[in-house]
Amino acid sequence: MRRGTLLIIPALLAGCDGRHNWLASAGAEAQRVEELFWVLLLGAAVIWGLVIGAAVYAHRRQVDPSLETQARRFILWGGAVFPTVIVGALLVWGLVILRDITADEGDLTVRVDGERWWWRVIYETPEGDVVTANEIRLPVDRTALFRLTADDVIHSFWVPALGGKMDMIPGRETTLALTPIQTGNWGGLCAEYCGGAHALMRFDAIVMEQDAFDTWLAAQAAPAQIAGDDRGFEIFQEEGCGACHTIRGTDAQGPVGPDLTHLAAREKLGAGIYDMTPETMARWITDTHEMKPDIDMPPYPDLQGDRLDRLVAFLMSLD
């Protein structure tokens, strides 16, 4: 225990507000778990210390007959009664927190469909569904209700800083309520092994003020604004990208891959793993499987030079 503790301290100091950290408590649900966590940690440390301390004491203590009574009490109270009371109390507390953090409705409903290895995101609004992918923005201090499912295998939706996770299971719809209370860019992850590139299935959960969020959502709802003579868009169509990808407002209506209508407005590329820059975009197209092995999207190594640059410029204009 001693050796481990020393090494933890620098990590502790660095990490409490890491973007994937449970204890960042940027969501109301995560905050409830954080309260539980500190009590449990302290309690566990004390109990571990007492038990090991008792063992050390028992080992060292000189034998004498009065110890039999101590031993008897130790087994009955220490072994049976106190643990029962403690775990019973913890159970009740845990169940109450569970009851409090689950909700059936929210201020906002977002459907997320897990795919291998990206996220299909659909905001439900009175005006209709707004489709995007791989990035979720949320208004602060509002409960977002996520309706989760998956088409292929089991995935799991997790933004540790905001709250716990929920699995996305083919054939079922599960729900998760998250109430962000701090703005910021928080990390989302897939938390159920889904084969292949599971490790590279991430997303950003960006929490903003309500009006900023409304502006963003309205922009997302709008179709893409593409100039009629955009050479990059022609290349996009020539290469057949529209068979898999959708750009609303055009005849690219492919449902297989992520919606690209407002691709460049996202912070990251490839499902939360690379910064959205022209260089990464270019490499993504030509060396797809080096960037993310085993995915369905084929690489286009023959796209080079000017042709590639125009395509990338087009894609970077989709904001």
Partner: protein
């Protein structure tokens, strides 16, 4: 060659045959209390799961809750009865420093009764734990 300490109890059948369920000397009393816990646990789980699946995700749990509590009380009563058997028929005692090492049928019975009694207590506690969720949750 017969001696009192080793005399067969009246109802005991020939050695080697599977002991009958509630005869003196039967080992089934050891597993009876935890089995009752298991039955209560499974029934509670199934009642709640089927109720929630068939009535919908927001169904009120008031009715199944009372089923679970009622089952819990019945099972606790059954276990209490087992505890009484353990004490009376087997001579079980509640001790910590158990040294029931007498090499005789009486010793063996007392040991079985003692362990059975401990298991009765544990099983009742575990049933109590199972009832708590029914009391905390009002809807599925």
């Amino acid at each position: 060659m017969r001696h009192g300490s080793d005399k067969q109890p009246r109802h005991f059948t020939a050695p080697g045959d599977a002991p009958r369920v509630i005869d003196q000397g039967s080992v089934w009393i050891l597993v009876a209390a935890p089995s009752i816990w298991a039955a209560h646990f499974l029934l509670s789980y199934w009642v709640a799961a089927i109720w929630c699946a068939k009535t919908g995700p927001m169904a009120s749990l008031v009715e199944p809750r009372w089923i679970i509590v009622a089952l819990g009380l019945i099972c606790t009563a059954l276990i209490a009865w087992l505890g009484v058997i353990a004490v009376r028929r087997y001579g079980g005692v509640f001790v910590i420093f158990e040294e029931i090492t007498e090499s005789s049928e009486r010793g063996r019975d007392r040991f079985i009764g003692h362990v059975a009694l401990l298991l009765c207590v544990l099983s009742v506690v575990a049933i109590g734990f199972t009832v708590i969720p029914g009391l905390v949750f009002a809807t599925c």
